[in-house]
């Protein structure tokens, strides 16, 4: 997979001012539904809701297609469409624009999202029409908002906008999972999804900051090893004061590229001292509209985007001129993907070396960045430790599971890693970590899938497992294969989910496979599409799954460059291959198990034969049929016969509910809106195999790899093995799938054999552990949730009693002193005055007795006085 030209130049940007329309349409659709949806529903024009929703999706898909066509016309290295609306915010070096960009990778994602999104919207029309929650408009509003967020995530030109989308999809998945919020458990599932995602986001943010300030050399060792002397002082970066976007960009030093000449000592043109004088860039007129609080109807942000006017697109200084020579590349901390890619990928800037030799907490910076960013991916794409929310997310309606938890949201993590391939490629231990976690998740989730009875649970664990595969791909370094598996998975997993949706709808909201069986007679189209999708996911040739999965496993086998926590681990590649093979067999086993249990044998729904309900202790997400009994059995409203007028050509929707009228227990085929989507998806699952025909077969690079090569520039040193070996490994893959198929066939064909029940009796202990998902949920509850609640109660008690008590104590102490003062005042000061009075009285009383009234005593007194005077006269000398 060698690239022709060694020295990569900066990305050449094509300005496309219509890009922001792609996310705008779903947003408008959502707004209309939020504000007027319930009015439509109440006034009987219920179909208007899905017209708006599907219409918005269709428009968005058309714009995306137009962009795709424009990109096709561009030469390979110029395929980068960019559109900046305005500067979101900027302070110091952190400057963020509301800007959209499409490069081949995000183009593919956008196409997947809009195409499959439209199909799923179409599917939901039929599926949600009779839904008992009577919130048709709310469903479509959330779905549109979800697509808007997903598009924001994919098309975002910088980390912050990606994070906008990242949390936006989290919010929408919360809204959609907890769609049936009247059931408290389903609401809890929504909450669980959001909080677990937040764990991931915490990791994402930490990784982001590490990378951002790493570019500024925050952790640069004082002596920088080799490579062009790019000495960035933190002072210049984190402390550079710039109050708006232009000033902030002016701060970034420029590296001018010399064709292979020794890179000149890169003088950082930007003066060290922050520009004291305020350069007066084109001022963003202080928008008056938010100051006047009067208007409050429609939150005016996207709707009135036009009046902001496009802020001066800070056209990057990348040369429009010819490739490479004399081009200026911006260096230093940046949130923008393109600028990040330019400075890291181009060796002349020295950033790559600079990043490599930075260490944080004793660990290599890039490894830490990789691990933290991958924690974010784990949260969003349900990898091992943070996967617990995905199975519970099946509480949402099936189209939601299909769109969000199969095709789009869960793949965000893979997309992010693919988008930052040049960062991950720099650090083998980061790649090793990603691959390892991917493998573990693949095997772990596959094993749980074996014994689930709820069809959606099986598919959920299959999704987690397949995501594991994708991460093996991007972890190992074959980013295009990871993206390709993402594409194929989007098709066949959506088809499987929608198939299961159609089955559930057919069996009157029955999700437990033990109550199905023999549906191939009743639902032929669903059956065939489900079979094709199973064929694809199991990895049999001529279906997409085979090509993407085998490419990943093959590249895994041939990679010796992985490392774990700093120590090179060449054995990791083959080990991953073997685990991957195991997971593949598991995948085909549980997929065909689900196929046989639902579609072959006799229909078990309704008779309620004494199936072992008892031992299904963990029906945490109980099938809706007994959760809200009243919901299911109310009479279905008369179907709205008038097919809605298709405003736009594409959505030839309308929902004749012909087959649904009969109330009887016999399952029935779903209406054409559903089956059509299933057929398209099944076709897609097969057709997109053409994109990935391996070089071994066709002699030239697979189409998709060529398409993605401008975006995925990281060169990863795989070991070259002869094509023959590749054929052998492909055969091995098919063999693994066959083994799984045979096992499923034997055990579950027509549900006749008693072997599964017997096996379960023998290994009941193992069975219950695996059935209860290794008690991971209980573990988390014990380790995370209960301690934090206890800790918070303790802190609240501390706050309420200790600190408050101190304050009140201070108050009472003051009161005490006041009391003492009062007492002293009353007793001592007053006392003294009274004492003088009593003294005089007592003195007077005692002296009275001297006055006896007899003259002689007075005479004695006088004589005594006289005698005393005479004596004194003699005594005193």
């Amino acid at each position: 997979m060698e690239h022709a030209s060694h020295a990569l130049g900066p990305v050449l940007v094509e300005h496309a001012s219509y890009l922001w329309l792609v996310p705008l349409f779903p947003l408008l659709g959502a707004l209309v539904n939020v504000l007027f949806g319930w009015r439509f529903e109440r006034s009987g024009k219920k179909s208007l809701v899905h017209v708006v929703a599907v219409g918005a999706m269709a428009l968005s898909f058309l714009t995306a297609a137009y962009a795709f066509v424009q990109m096709l016309h561009l030469p390979a290295e110029r395929r980068f469409l960019q559109n900046t609306l305005w500067n979101l915010f900027s302070a110091g070096r952190v400057t963020v624009d509301l800007a959209f960009a499409l490069d081949p990778l995000s183009m593919m994602m956008v196409l997947i999202i809009t195409f499959i999104g439209t199909l799923i919207h179409l599917f939901s029309v039929g599926y949600m029409w009779e839904d008992e929650a009577k919130a048709y408009w709310r469903f479509f509003a959330w779905l549109n908002l979800f697509v808007f967020s997903m598009l924001l995530l994919v098309m975002g030109d910088n980390f912050v906008l990606m994070f906008f989308g990242w949390e936006g999809v989290g919010l929408c998945s919360y809204g959609l999972i907890a769609f049936y919020y009247t059931d408290r458990e389903k609401a809890a599932a929504g909450m669980k999804a959001f909080v677990v995602n937040r764990f991931g986001d915490f990791g994402f943010l930490a990784g982001l900051f590490l990378l951002f300030w790493g570019l500024g050399g925050a952790w640069a060792a004082s002596c920088h090893t080799g490579g062009p002397s790019y000495q960035a002082t933190p002072g210049m970066h984190s402390l550079a004061g710039a109050s708006d976007a232009a000033a902030s960009l002016a701060l970034a030093p420029r590296v001018s590229l010399r064709e292979h000449a020794a890179p000149a000592k890169h003088g950082a043109p930007a003066g060290h001292a922050a520009p004291a004088e305020h350069a007066a860039p084109a001022e963003h007129a202080a928008p008056a509209e938010h100051a006047a609080p009067a208007e409050h109807a429609v939150p005016a942000e996207h709707g009135a985007a036009a009046e902001h006017g496009t802020a001066p697109g800070h056209a990057t200084a990348s040369a429009k001129g010819e490739h490479g020579v004399g081009a200026q590349v911006m260096v230093g901390p940046t949130l923008n993907f393109r600028e990040l890619r330019d400075q890291v990928v181009i060796e002349e800037t020295g950033i790559a070396e600079h990043l490599k030799d930075q260490r944080v907490w004793g660990v290599a910076l890039l490894a830490l960045v990789g691990i933290f960013l991958f924690v974010g991916a784990m949260g969003k794409s349900a990898q091992l430790p943070l996967y617990v929310w995905l199975p519970d997310a099946m509480a949402g309606p099936t189209p939601v599971s299909a769109l969000i938890h199969a095709a789009t949201m869960v793949t965000a993590g893979v997309y992010m890693v693919a988008r930052l391939n040049f960062i991950f490629a720099l650090s083998p231990s980061a790649m090793g970590w990603v691959a390892l976690i991917g493998t573990l998740t693949a095997v772990f989730a596959a094993s749980i899938g074996f014994f689930q009875y709820d069809i959606k649970k099986v598919l959920a664990y299959s999704t987690v497992s397949q995501l594991g595969f994708m991460f093996i791909g991007v972890g190992v370094g074959v980013y295009w294969a990871g993206a390709y598996h993402l594409l194929t998975h989007a098709f066949f997993k959506a088809c499987l989910f929608l198939g299961s949706g159609s089955v559930i709808l057919g069996c009157h909201h029955e999700q437990d496979m033990r109550k199905m069986g023999g549906l191939k007679k009743y639902m032929p189209i669903t059956r065939w599409t489900y079979l094709i999708a199973c064929w694809a996911i199991a990895g049999f040739p001529w279906a997409a799954g085979f090509y993407s999965k085998d490419e990943i496993l093959w590249k895994a086998f041939t990679s010796e460059h992985l490392a774990l926590f700093g120590t090179a681990t060449p054995w990791l590649g083959p080990a991953i291959y073997i685990a991957g093979l195991l997971a593949a067999t598991g995948t085909s086993f549980y997929m065909f198990r689900s196929y046989f249990m639902t579609f072959t044998g006799e229909y078990r729904g309704g008779q309620g034969h004494g199936h072992e309900h008892g031992e299904d202790p963990h029906a945490s997400v109980a099938a809706p049929h007994h959760a809200d009994p009243h919901g299911h059995h109310d009479a279905h409203p008369a179907p709205d016969p008038a097919p809605a007028h298709g405003a736009h050509g594409h959505d030839a929707h309308g929902q004749a509910h012909g087959g649904h009228g009969g109330h009887g227990h016999t399952p029935h085929e779903s209406p054409w809106t559903i089956t059509l989507v299933l057929v398209v998806l099944a076709a897609g699952a097969v057709l997109c195999s053409l994109l990935g025909l391996p070089a071994a077969w066709t002699g030239h690079e697979p189409l998709l790899e060529q398409w993605l090569s401008p975006a995925l520039t990281a060169e990863v040193p795989f070991v070259h093995k002869p094509h023959a070996l590749e054929f052998v490994f492909q055969a091995l893959g098919v063999g693994a799938g066959a083994i799984g198929f045979v096992f499923a066939w034997v055990l579950y064909k027509d549900n006749k054999s008693k072997v599964p029940a017997a096996l379960k009796e023998k290994f009941l202990g193992v069975w219950t552990v695996v059935y209860n998902k290794y008690y991971v949920d209980e573990l988390y509850d014990l380790v995370v949730i209960r301690p934090s609640l206890a800790w918070s109660r303790a802190l609240s008690w501390f706050d309420g009693h200790i600190i408050d008590w101190l304050v009140n104590f201070a108050g009472s102490v003051a009161r005490g002193f006041a009391g003492i003062d009062g007492w002293i005042d009353k007793h001592f000061v007053d006392g003294a005055v009274n004492a003088v009075a009593t003294l005089t009285i007592e003195g007077g009383r005692t002296l009275r007795r001297v006055q006896t009234g007899r003259i002689q005593t007075y005479l004695y007194g006088a004589l005594a006085g006289g005698l005393a005077v005479i004596l004194l006269n003699f005594l005193i000398p």
Partner: protein
């Protein structure tokens, strides 16, 4: 009417004019026998008009303010202070009426005007259906004894709603409070600042103490004494600084040997005037004054050990007063610290920066955990305010351009969001007359519109990107990361806890089966819409275009950080 040099005076004293008018009207009632109902309505109208005009003045001030203008020249350097109005007030003490606005205070002036106007609207019983008023106990008992309250579903008659009790008194206090707040933000003279600081405290005490909830006296007294203790320390520090300051000239040119002028003091502080002052009690002068001022302001933030007055004050205060208390009063602390501590005592600031950061982290994580265990919704939001103000502390302590801009932006965004949050608590309290989260259930079915606006507010406070909360959080984190990496990572965990307690509150209150006692509750009425939707709109707009505020505040703050750092 509003010219660049008198707009601030108008903004400050318009509410005071309204208050005086109401007092005159009340007097008129005894003279000419104005009926009680007429007086109530008149005082409500006056309060609404004057606070509205004050907001208009604040908006004018915002439009006059040009972030890149050099502004007033102080000690040879452009200070960036504009819309200046100066006059000699007390010649003996060199005290001036010195009012001006720079990057730091322009957003606060706008916030104060906005939140005051919203709070005034929320204090009126108008624009709401008869059933709403009857349920909330807002029945004007003109004449007939004690409004007969149907008391929807609850046996006991509701206590009269605060908006119909002693209305003229309430409105006068409210307007006085607004004057105090606006004055504190625009004052650039230490003495004047302290006067407005005290003017702000008094009406707040009465508003909580008279129109508050069951334990109002305790809460009011606790609030008042706590803040007063702080302001005593502050007064001592101000006097210390005054007597150690070098001379400056008054507006009419006469020279003085000491000065209260904040800008002069900042220039002198920067030039090391206070580093050489005589030590107090053996400690260095600058450090003692810094700590005294800091504690005085920290009580207002509120910072960790001094925060226990906030939950009590909030729980007992009526809704509009909680809005003002959380929306504006909490911003006084950080504003004061930036205006006084950072500007005048740069080296003491560098000395104390790490400690402030630690307190910031404690504030964030400690309060977040405490929120998780709260049973009363208003206490939960009060503690969440404590947690969010922790971000400002962390941002200020990091003293990098991004962090400090994030910190000040957080003041504005938190003001808007916590204003919304308390209004939302007010909505449900007016209907259910209790705030225990556990007793609610499934409100989403009964009150869909209320649930929507609540969702917006809760997710904004949670820091969801696309809404105002996230921007300031992100900037504080990214700005402080290179300086305090471990602190930022610790406080980043609060992102998870915040999401947890808010979602758990939503789960217990709004999702699940509808609790029958709340069947038939009316949804938002127009008054509540009129207060909630503007704030919601601003939260969304600031989510997608924060540069509107940041553009104005960046320049001044970055110069401030440069001064403190060098």
């Amino acid at each position: 009417m509003f010219g660049p040099n008198n707009v601030l005076a108008w903004a400050t004293f318009l509410p005071l004019g309204g208050a005086i008018l109401i007092v005159l009207l009340t007097a008129l009632r005894y003279v000419s026998g104005l009926s009680k109902h007429a007086l109530d309505q008149a005082s409500r109208a006056i309060a609404l008009c004057t606070s509205g005009l004050s907001l208009v003045a604040a908006i004018y001030a915002w439009s006059f303010y040009d972030p890149n203008a050099a502004g007033m020249v102080v000690a040879g350097k452009a200070s960036g202070v504009q819309l200046v109005q100066r006059a000699v007030w007390i010649r003996g003490f060199n005290v001036e009426w010195f009012v001006g606005v720079d990057g730091l205070s322009i957003s606060m002036v706008l916030l104060s005007g906005l939140i005051s106007f919203v709070a005034t609207i929320a204090s009126l019983p108008w624009w709401s259906g008869a059933k709403d008023r009857e349920m909330a106990g807002m029945v004007e008992d003109d004449g007939h004894a004690g409004g007969a309250h149907g008391g929807h579903g609850h046996g006991e008659a509701h206590p009269k709603h605060f908006s119909v009790r002693m209305v003229p008194g309430y409105m006068v206090m409210l307007l006085l409070l607004q004057t105090g707040m606006m004055g504190t933000f625009v004052a650039l003279d230490m003495f004047l600042f302290y006067v407005f600081w005290e003017v702000m405290l008094l009406p707040m005490y009465f508003l909580i103490g008279v129109w508050g909830g069951p334990r109002k006296e305790y809460a009011a007294i606790k609030f008042f004494l706590y803040t007063l203790a702080g302001s005593v320390l502050m007064l001592l520090a101000i006097i210390g600084v005054y007597y150690n300051s070098a001379g400056a000239s008054l507006v009419d040119g006469s020279a003085t040997e000491h000065t209260f002028n904040l800008l002069e003091l900042a220039a002198q502080g920067h030039a090391g005037q206070f580093a050489s002052a005589a030590p107090i009690l053996g400690f260095e002068f600058a450090k003692i004054v810094f700590v005294a001022l800091f504690i005085g302001f920290a009580i207002k933030i509120p910072m960790f050990p001094f925060h226990t007055w906030l939950p009590d004050a909030h729980v007992e205060a009526p809704t509009p007063i909680s809005v003002i208390l959380a929306g504006v009063l909490l911003k006084m602390g950080p504003y004061g610290i930036l205006r006084f501590n950072f500007a005048i005592l740069p080296d003491a600031t560098r000395w104390a920066a790490n400690a402030i950061a630690i307190f910031g982290v404690i504030n964030i994580v400690y309060a977040a955990f405490v929120c998780l265990a709260q049973k009363d919704l208003k206490k939960l939001i009060a503690y969440s305010s404590v947690s969010h103000m922790g971000f400002t502390l962390l941002g200020m302590a990091a003293m990098t351009p991004t962090a400090i801009s994030g910190a000040v932006l957080n003041l504005f965004t938190h003001g808007i969001i916590s204003g919304m949050l308390f209004l939302i608590v007010g909505v449900i309290y007016d209907r259910a007359h209790h705030r225990e989260i556990a007793r609610f259930g499934g409100l989403a079915q009964q009150l869909p519109e209320y649930t929507a606006i609540m969702g917006l507010a809760f997710f904004a406070s949670m820091g969801l990107p696309g809404l105002a909360g996230f921007i300031s959080e992100f900037m504080v984190f990214s700005g402080s990361f290179p300086v305090y990496m471990t602190y930022v990572i610790i406080s980043a965990t609060s992102v998870i806890i915040t999401a947890a307690y808010y979602l758990w509150a939503i789960h217990r209150m709004f999702l699940g089966k509808l609790n029958e006692t709340y069947r038939g509750f009316p949804d938002l009425n127009w008054r509540e819409r009129l207060t909630l939707y503007p704030l919601g709109a601003i939260a969304i707009v600031l989510g997608f275009y924060p540069q509107a505020i940041l553009g104005s505040i960046n320049t001044t703050l970055h110069v401030l950080v440069q001064n403190v750092r060098l």
